[in-house]
């Protein structure tokens, strides 16, 4: 290489407290315009590495050794020893970062727009007004259908994916030299992910931005990265160009990772009519609208119709998966299904505690009945950070459901907690930790473990594996399948990862703009998609191979506005085609 690399990480070792280093002797380079993917096991230190570059590690972290040299072209800067004030000028301007957990990385009390435009005000000397234009532009590009609304919203009014996109917009708005993206697309559906990735690429082409991309998704790696660094247990296992790593992995761990990647089926068994005789959960005509507040003093309150007329039936012992656009109302559906939010009048949720027992109407249960219901139906939250109380230790978190329902003695509960931790492949020795001392993936597993504690009959999983690396993801999926088989658990499974869905689901519904647009068994759906949006999803799905590239046209058609879809599918204002059974067991929102 003739030019000095943009960033050189040399021999970086970091530890927490007095413990042994969590990261030891990490070295890698990032050249200008290049994308380096950091992949590896959950908890292997990827996030820590990224934060170390910006020097925003938590206070108890110690950098034991190493240098980080940043060279934007006008001389080398050593970031580890640089004075804080100078470093501040770099942050957000020349180096910016997308955090893994967007909900908590945004201030709860400030509007999204203000938080994003602040970067411009800080580093580019913009005023609020001029910044707003740029921000809205950026919002458009990260795929917000209504940038104005997002600009005005508070974080808690947005879906997980929307927050993540806001975060991405914030990181990219100043067109940095180096973008550190910590799992930037985990919460995004594949079409949006494709959009984001191409946005990053565009920017790279435009400004020569370099990217450090932390991801679990080998498909993403294959499609975007130039080079790959594989990490495990705080050490680099293997590093090299994408092609080399993906096609000729040398290290055992890399091989294992690649093997663990699930794939979307391309063949289907003959279509069969779907008949449910033992349902456990049924959502009938469920809608949900939110009043969105206008500005504090403006009259403009609009209504967001998050979910519109959704019907879902989950069969006992089976998995019903929901995939779809980010912000299409999946999480809302899930919350409604468990009674955590009430549907708009007219919607009914039924739950059958046992086969052919009389159904409970979840939306109108009294508190005691609700508690009984909640014992049987649990949820894994999309946002593990937020759903774990920051002031409770793991042991308290895991035993809490048992305590609530007064199950077992203290020591039994404790044993159960240990068992649960082991089930999700976490070390029981971590029982005394607080949630914030875990990596993103570890937290997600905690969340799953907690949901399993009560041995529920129905589990609603909102993106349970999005933050997990492939090997752990496989483990978790296996675990879920196992439990399904042994305990007859049923799942309502929400995910963006079509491969995961195809593996675990018995039935898949695709949602867009609060509505189901297509529904079928996974093999049918993935091999013979009918709806343009489904097609776009599949097209946007990235394969972990360097050769396969995205069919951007298909993506563009399907992911575009519903009004622009081919006639028979298109939504016209409030007119929406009905969900029709085109073949037995295959529902498509189509006009016939």
């Amino acid at each position: 290489m003739d030019k000095a690399p943009l960033l050189q990480v040399r021999d970086l070792s970091i530890g927490f407290g007095k413990g042994t280093p969590i990261i030891s002797n990490i070295s890698f380079n990032v050249a200008a315009g290049e994308t380096v993917a950091l992949v590896g096991e959950s908890g292997s230190g990827k996030t820590v590495t990224c934060k170390a570059i910006l020097r925003i590690l938590s206070a108890n972290a110690k950098i034991h050794s190493g240098t980080v040299i940043f060279n934007p072209g006008d001389g080398e800067l050593e970031l580890i020893s640089m004075p804080e004030r100078k470093l501040r000028e770099l942050r957000g301007d020349q180096i910016s970062m997308i955090f893994q957990e967007p909900m908590h990385s945004l201030s709860p009390l400030h509007r999204i727009g203000a938080q994003v435009s602040e970067v411009l005000c800080l580093h580019r000397g913009h005023r609020k007004k001029s910044a707003k234009k740029l921000v809205l532009e950026k919002f458009e590009r990260v795929g917000f259908p209504d940038p104005e609304r997002v600009y005005r919203s508070y974080p808690f009014e947005l879906s997980g994916g929307m927050r993540q996109r806001a975060m991405i917009a914030m990181a990219m708005i100043a067109k940095p030299d180096l973008l550190i993206a910590d799992e930037p697309t985990t919460a995004l559906d594949v079409t949006t992910q494709a959009q984001i990735l191409s946005l990053i690429k565009d920017l790279q082409a435009e400004t020569g931005m370099a990217v450090i991309l932390v991801t679990h998704d080998l498909g993403v790696v294959a499609n975007t990265a130039d080079r790959v660094v594989v990490m495990r247990n705080g050490r680099i296992m293997e590093a090299g160009s994408v092609a080399e790593i993906l096609d000729h992995p040398k290290h055992g761990y890399t091989k294992k990772l690649i093997d663990a990647a699930p794939a979307i089926p391309h063949e289907a068994e003959p279509s069969r009519a779907r008949q449910i005789d033992d349902p456990i959960l049924q959502l009938e005509n469920v809608s949900k609208s939110f009043d969105l507040r206008g500005g504090m003093f403006s009259k403009r309150g609009e209504v967001v119709r998050a979910v519109q007329g959704v019907d879902i039936t989950v069969e006992r012992g089976k998995t019903f998966a929901v995939v779809g656009e980010s912000g299409s109302g999946k999480s809302t559906c899930a919350k409604i299904a468990l009674g955590a939010a009430s549907p708009d009048p007219g919607g009914v949720i039924r739950f059958w505690p046992a086969k052919s027992a009389p159904p409970l109407e979840v939306q109108s249960l009294d508190p005691t009945a609700k508690r009984a219901f909640q014992r049987q139906a649990q949820m894994v939250f999309q946002d593990p950070y937020g759903s774990l109380s920051p002031r409770m230790q793991v042991i308290d978190i895991l035993t809490e459901p048992l305590e609530i329902h007064e199950i077992g003695t203290r020591s039994e509960r404790r044993d159960r907690a240990v068992e649960l931790l082991e089930q999700v492949d976490l070390d029981p020795a971590m029982l005394r930790r607080f949630p914030h001392a875990f990596s993103g993936g570890q937290r997600q597993r905690l969340s799953i473990a907690r949901a399993l504690a009560l041995e529920p009959k129905l589990l609603v999983c909102d993106e349970p594996t999005s933050a997990l690396d492939l090997s752990v993801q496989m483990q978790v999926l296996e675990l879920l399948e196992d439990i399904r088989e042994t305990l007859g658990l049923s799942y309502l499974f929400i995910s963006h990862d079509l491969a995961v869905v195809s593996r675990i689901a018995n039935e898949v519904a695709v949602m867009r703009r609060g509505q189901i647009v297509e529904q079928a068994a996974p093999d049918i759906l993935f091999s013979a998609p009918k709806h343009p949006y489904t097609k776009a999803l599949i097209a946007a799905c990235l394969e972990p191979s360097v050769e396969q590239k995205i069919d951007l046209d298909a993506v563009a058609i399907g992911a575009g506005d519903p009004e622009t879809w081919p006639e028979e599918f298109a939504f016209q204002a409030s007119e929406v085609p009905p969900l029709t059974e085109t073949e037995p067991g295959h529902l498509v929102r189509i006009q016939i």
Binding site: G92, F99, E101
Partner: protein
């Protein structure tokens, strides 16, 4: 718009509450046995001025003190006609002070602006001192800045106000030639505003403000520090840092706003607690605020005066609470709509 509707709604609930409070105030005030006029009669008798007694009896009728308590209340408020027709608080007639032999409005008027002045100064002091020190103590927690500010704050808290005042006055006069007591040099009293007068008022305000304000400032500082420390470790602060927001601003803009929640909730309490907290100090320091007026009025059971002051302070509390509610809604979008849909 919605916030306006909310504010209007709060305003009307406030009026209703005020009515309830006024009744309570009136009855509590009448709890101790006797009333001003019977005390006066006793005193007149003791000084052998029996002739005054009949005069007092006349007053008793004049001000309806011979009526049952509930009727007295209604007359006071103005919902019931007194001997001279409707004339109550709601008609702008605040009643008569027996002690001063003047309409209540005249007495309270002059004390009011002093009260407002002293308390405003104290509130200002509280905020001006507590905010930066609290933030500093949080940001630099466990350093000498933190410890000294805590020490000074607690010194103020742990010294009885009056003792503190006396010490400050005595040594302040001895070593810095600060004036002892009063609110301005006498030559300025009643004079039109001038730079010299303002300066004199300011100099006189130093010690009272300090004495009344230290407790509040120390309390606010420590609570702010604690709340802020909680927020400072939240991930969104990290985001701000990653954005390159300077440390001061990243503290002021993000966590401080969250940490401020409990203080905004407490605004309603600030003024009345300062007023009641300053009563005793004002009595000994001879500040002519409504605090001492209230105390003497209560002691001598000069009921219309006491009643009005109490009602006034209650009104302040309620207005403060209302403001704080509206501010809370403005401050934290999550609270904005009180009730949650379940």
């Amino acid at each position: 718009m919605e916030i306006l509707r909310y504010a209007v709604f709060r305003f009307f609930t406030m009026l209703a509450t005020l009515l309830v409070v006024s009744a309570l105030v009136f009855f509590i005030m009448n709890l101790p046995p006797g009333d001003y006029l019977s005390n006066l009669i006793a005193e007149l008798r003791s000084t052998g001025q029996d002739s005054g007694v009949a005069k007092v009896e006349f007053l008793r009728q004049e001000y309806s003190l011979d009526q049952p308590l509930w009727k007295q209340y209604l007359i006071w408020i103005g919902f019931w006609p007194g001997p001279h027709g409707f004339s109550g608080i709601i008609h702008g007639d605040f009643g008569w002070s027996f002690e001063y032999d003047k309409p209540v409005s005249e007495i309270v008027g002059s004390a009011l602006w002093l009260t407002v002045l002293v308390n405003l100064a104290a509130v200002l002091f509280v905020y001006v001192v507590a905010l930066p020190l609290g933030v500093l103590a949080a940001v630099r927690s466990k350093t000498w800045v933190d410890y000294t500010s805590a020490l000074i704050g607690y010194l103020g808290l742990a010294t009885p106000n009056f003792l503190l005042a006396l010490m400050l006055f005595y040594y302040g006069h001895k070593y810095f030639n600060l004036p002892i007591g009063g609110l301005m040099a006498p030559e300025f009293e009643g004079e039109p505003m001038s730079a010299a007068k303002v300066k004199s008022v300011l100099v006189h305000l130093i010690i009272p403000t300090f004495v009344i304000g230290t407790a509040g400032a120390a309390a606010m500082m420590q609570r702010l520090r604690a709340n802020l420390l909680d927020e400072l470790s939240k991930p969104y602060v990290e985001t701000a840092k990653a954005k390159g927001v300077p440390p001061i601003r990243s503290v002021l803009k993000y966590p401080l706003r969250v940490a401020f929640n409990p203080f905004v909730a407490d605004i309603g309490n600030l003024l009345p607690s300062l007023i009641s907290g300053s009563v005793l100090v004002s009595v000994v320091l001879g500040l002519q605020t409504i605090g001492p007026a209230l105390l003497t009025a209560l002691k001598s059971q000069d009921q219309f005066l006491a009643g009005f002051i109490l009602l006034f302070v209650a009104g302040l509390t309620l207005i403060g609470t209302m403001i704080s509610d509206v501010l809370l809604a403005l401050l934290d979008p999550r609270i904005r709509y009180g009730g949650r849909k379940r």
